[in-house]
Symmetry: C2
Subunit: 291 residues, 2 copies
């Protein structure tokens, strides 16, 4: 599978072989998960590869870095990294972009943060844009172990920061697999739906377009969810960020997991119970998301 890796060196971007070791064992991103990342969609509309909403992704990455008190490279450095990676990317079709930043080397703090970008093909099996949305997935609810206001006044818990400390997210995905499902809806101990390990949550219920608020819940801001709710509002729909009780998922008009690189994916089954998947709503959610 083709991939392009571009690493930020003191004198600018360097495209390296994906299998070339470029990280030392004292990198704090590695030893402490002390870093952040962001992911976006690279579109190919016949006129070369373009990162959709690159500035939004760079701004979110900057917010994640601020929560970690890491000073990120300037915007121009990221743009030069992305440009270098895309210049080396010659696979037709849409792709995924990942931007990664770590605190840098523990044993050489003067070296500053470590930064790189990766361009990869979109996950196989995902529909292309314009195909009317993804096939439904099965999901399970799993507790995140905290109440829905746990991150209020506790900035050290790093709510909302897209950090490299993702081990619980991948463990939850494995638990879903064990339960015969493909994905997870995290829940709070006080009974609300939160988000998914690698996606935001979208719920349509009684005609209202809803998603979990950021802030006290600790969930990551989803740029794609924000895009969808904005488009829904502009289309005359009632839309809001508000806590959705878990039991409201089972009789919703539709539930989606939403990520930049894959668009909105309908949940067709939750905890073994079938959820409504309305083709018109699925197509509309995909359209709102620009998919």
């Amino acid at each position: 599978m083709p991939r392009v890796v571009a690493v930020l060196r003191p004198d600018g971007p360097e495209v390296v072989e994906p299998a070339q070791p470029v990280i030392t064992v004292d990198d704090l991103g590695l030893t402490r998960g002390d870093g952040c990342f962001d992911s976006g969609l690279v579109t190919d509309d016949g006129d070369g590869h373009v990162v959709r909403g690159l500035d939004d992704h760079l701004e979110r990455l900057t917010r994640s870095a601020a929560a970690l008190e890491i000073t990120p490279p300037p915007r121009e450095a990221w743009v030069s990294l992305v440009d270098a990676a895309l210049a080396a990317w010659d696979t037709p079709g849409d792709a995924s972009l990942k931007l990664v930043l770590t605190r840098g080397r523990e044993w050489d703090p003067d070296a500053g943060p470590t930064a790189w970008v990766v361009v990869s093909p979109r996950a196989s099996g995902r529909p292309q844009r314009g195909e009317g949305g993804s096939d439904p997935v099965r999901a399970v609810t799993l507790t995140r172990g905290h109440p829905s206001d746990a991150f209020e006044d506790a900035p050290w818990l790093l709510g909302g920061a897209k950090t490299l400390s993702y081990v619980v997210n991948v463990a939850a995905q494995r638990e879903a697999g064990r339960r015969g499902a493909e994905d997870v809806v995290f829940t709070s101990t006080d009974g609300y739906a939160l988000d998914a390990p690698m996606a935001g949550l979208l719920v349509v219920r009684d005609g209202r377009w809803l998603s979990t608020p950021t802030g006290p819940t600790g969930i990551l801001e989803s740029l794609s969810v924000a895009t969808i709710l904005r488009a829904a509002a502009e289309d005359g729909q009632d839309s809001a960020f508000e806590l959705v009780p878990v039991e409201h998922l089972y009789d919703a008009d539709g539930v989606w997991l939403v990520a930049s690189s894959r668009g909105p994916t309908p949940v067709g089954e939750l905890d073994g119970r079938p959820l409504r998947v309305d083709p018109d709503l699925v197509a509309r959610a995909a359209r709102y998301a620009g998919f």
Copy 2:
């Protein structure tokens, strides 16, 4: 500062320069904090460097790996790595050993897990063994955001696993610094003391030697705390793993943060309030810990 890094290659251990990049950008330990580690003390009693309780550390690392469903290299491979690192370590005095294991490369799953060990000098300013214990530190209490039973029946939250996803631990240490303290006692939302970001918690109160139970609390098992409580019991003291309410810390006979590589460190001030530091108790805790 001298350091030795030994990496596990397919054909055995290789000692590499600490500044040599040996990790690829797709290593899941780096991109997801998806790996685990363990730390121990290397003693130098004039007869060469020896890892104290290496088997206990390897067993705890194996338990962490099992929680992550990572198949670790066999014990002999770890022992050969440690031997290779210690053979290259020629700095007199005690040292720290870190063993690290990640799930390996995302883009080359057949390559298997990534494993390495690091030998470093003990943090400067720590007393040597036999000096009667460390100087007291100032600490603050910070919430961990979850109740004390959050990890019950939720193995995907990876309670008790010493994972590489440590970003909240280091963010909490920074918060302590902002508050004029050197360390943290994490607390549960229901009012109990848990542990410290990089150490276990020991409390002596009304003559009883206490520490937080593992399991539902999600805290890491502390080998040093276990050693101390065992030695206390053998010495005729009442000792137990039981939840300690936060307010019981302020009027305890003594509170310590405990880690293999630094021994028990008394907390002299918590949230700006002075704690009791009884020299006899401090010396006894150090002795129980073998320091």
